[in-house]
Symmetry: C2
Subunit: 360 residues, 2 copies
């Protein structure tokens, strides 16, 4: 079978690395052959989208903002998994949140606004609020957090905004869930995520579930989803609320490449090709340290691999401020061992400078 | 770093699949881009061996009978790991066995002969013997087993022979061991192997060690080895004796792709690039069922993946009588669960016809 991937980043790279064991061929469409280009069978430029789709038996995407013509053509030919609905929802934060609320998924209170000044007016509804443009922005870029009593900032764009009640969370978490073509679902145990300046810095799994798997399952069903999806949560004293979902393999699920029977990448390939899903139980506690900004020296790599239970994934990307260029997977017999090793890896990667390194 | 692999078979394919996580590029030299060609960065034909070696930082081989000019050139440039000594020893069964015996590795009694008739004469030394040509032959091809009282067969080639005392073994087993550039060794727990008509059919690990790891470690040191090596044993009532070694990742070690912290493939890449070796402990019991002769139907694949703990590796090769075209990895919480699942997989793959399917 030939599987097309829209997008040539590290997620595509790991999909190929993990999916080629089934004997599939892979084709990638993107403007340039990025990390996935290192394991490439067939590469197509955006203008070759029709040839790309024609040549593939099924098509998936590693990024929901990938080439839209390729997505539409794939959908038209009945080849696109997980389909267009999640892509459309992800184009508008308002539509995404409305879909979630309508389907009984717990989300923060929110309202929408047609302009920046309207957004400022409406943010008075909440004691503390987070204001974002409805579309665009990434890794927390352009978000405003405002208390009711703060003077409204000026500026802003002439576009739609979403105003959400600020969620006073205990921690952030995520669930990686797969749904097969037959509707069967399997979720990996939830992971607890540490963000810094809007970027995922590290992850530890499993963490307390607290209903998150049930919510993720409901969402996968309501989306009539096929494939792997990441669902991000704020965990509050009153339980989890969904922050957002990503209709693809997810940054916070790379730990499944270690200490698990199948990774999220293999699981996605199984799901979209109609194969039975793999067991998602943790064989060990697992975690991730993302490598952001600076590449590692040989001494750092060697130091990391001397810590028991570590594995390195180097995306082969040029280092750049706030760019994820790799990650370290870490396993441990229990949570304490895992946490200790993650701290050790953090020390080698960031030397205590993570705050500085990730600051925009 | 660019790593060259001499040989484009499934072992090369899995080396790339498992080694690319470190961000390395891979180049392959062979007569045609086989299984490894599906994940290829750079491919070289045998006549381009010099360009191939020049372009690589280090070179390894997935098959000890790979292109000799490429091996010699790599050695000359100081790039070849695990080096030429094991390749040379593997060219002559007599030299291999002499090296083993000289270095205190337990092997069956043996003598050599310069012709077939001399071999027949000398086989009278043993009550029962196995007679093989010193070079060539694979998967048990061309072996003669003879009792002293049997009339000597006629025919045979005008070449060197080795005559070994027949080993009355309880079972066959193997150890996959890695030795780093710094001399550190790490062995995976031994696996018990089931052969049929000279071909490996299935494997279960771990099995009782009985001194095998110690022997494999001694051999790796005596060879001053760098990389992963497979050591095959006959386990007798008086302990293990070495049948042969393979200076590369090994058919019986594919189980390490499941239920282990690192696979033999990742371990080989770590070893030859001078990185710290990974932990080799079994997280679960693991095994292999080789797919030989016939390709699987979609229904078979689906049936196999419905058995818990299974993973499929499809080498993408044309099926052919007695050709390995893939394998199924199987994991289980304990030996009984593993054995039961291996039986279930065998039933789906061979339907009880393995004897028939593997017969030459």
């Amino acid at each position: 079978m030939r599987i097309g991937i829209i997008g040539s980043g590290q997620l595509g790279w790991m999909l190929i690395m993990e999916g080629s064991k089934f004997g599939h061929d892979f084709a990638v469409l993107d403007t340039y052959p990025g990390p996935a280009g290192r394991l490439l069978n067939f590469f197509y430029k955006p203008e070759e989208y029709r040839e790309f789709v024609d040549s593939c038996d099924i098509v998936t995407y590693e990024f929901e903002n990938g080439d839209m013509r390729a997505m539409l053509e794939s959908e038209k030919q009945g080849k696109l998994f997980p389909g267009l609905l999640p892509v459309r929802l992800k184009k508008s934060r308002i539509e995404e949140k409305e879909f979630l609320r309508k389907n009984g998924i717990p989300v923060a209170e929110f309202v929408s606004a047609g302009s920046f000044s309207e957004a400022m007016d409406k943010s008075g509804k909440f004691a503390k609020s987070v204001i974002k443009t409805s579309s665009g922005g990434y890794d927390g870029k352009g978000q405003i957090t405002r208390k009711r009593e703060d003077p409204p900032p000026t500026g802003g764009e002439d576009t739609e905004y979403i105003i959400e009640e600020f969620v006073d969370f205990r921690y952030e978490a995520s669930v990686i869930i797969a749904r097969g073509r037959d509707g069967q679902t399997r979720a990996f145990p939830p992971s607890r995520n540490r963000h810094l300046h809007g970027m995922l810095l590290s992850t530890e799994a499993p963490c307390e579930d607290d209903g998150m798997t049930e919510i993720a399952t409901l969402l996968a069903e309501k989306l009539d989803y096929t494939g792997v999806m990441g669902v991000e949560f704020f965990v509050t004293n009153d339980g989890p609320v969904v922050n957002e979902f990503a209709p693809r393999v997810h940054n916070s699920g790379h730990n499944t490449l270690s200490g698990h029977h199948v990774s999220q990448f293999e699981q996605h390939i199984r799901a979209i090709t109609g194969m039975p899903l793999g067991n998602t139980v943790n064989l060990q506690c697992t975690g991730i340290v993302n490598i952001i900004g600076n590449s590692l020296t040989g001494t750092q790599v060697s130091g990391i691999l001397q810590i028991p239970g570590t594995k390195l994934y180097d995306y082969g990307k040029e280092p750049r401020k706030r760019r994820k260029i790799g990650h370290v997977n870490v396993t441990g017999e229990d949570k304490e061992v895992l946490s200790g090793r993650i701290k050790d890896v953090m020390k080698i990667v960031y030397g205590g400078q993570e705050e500085e390194t990730l600051r925009p």
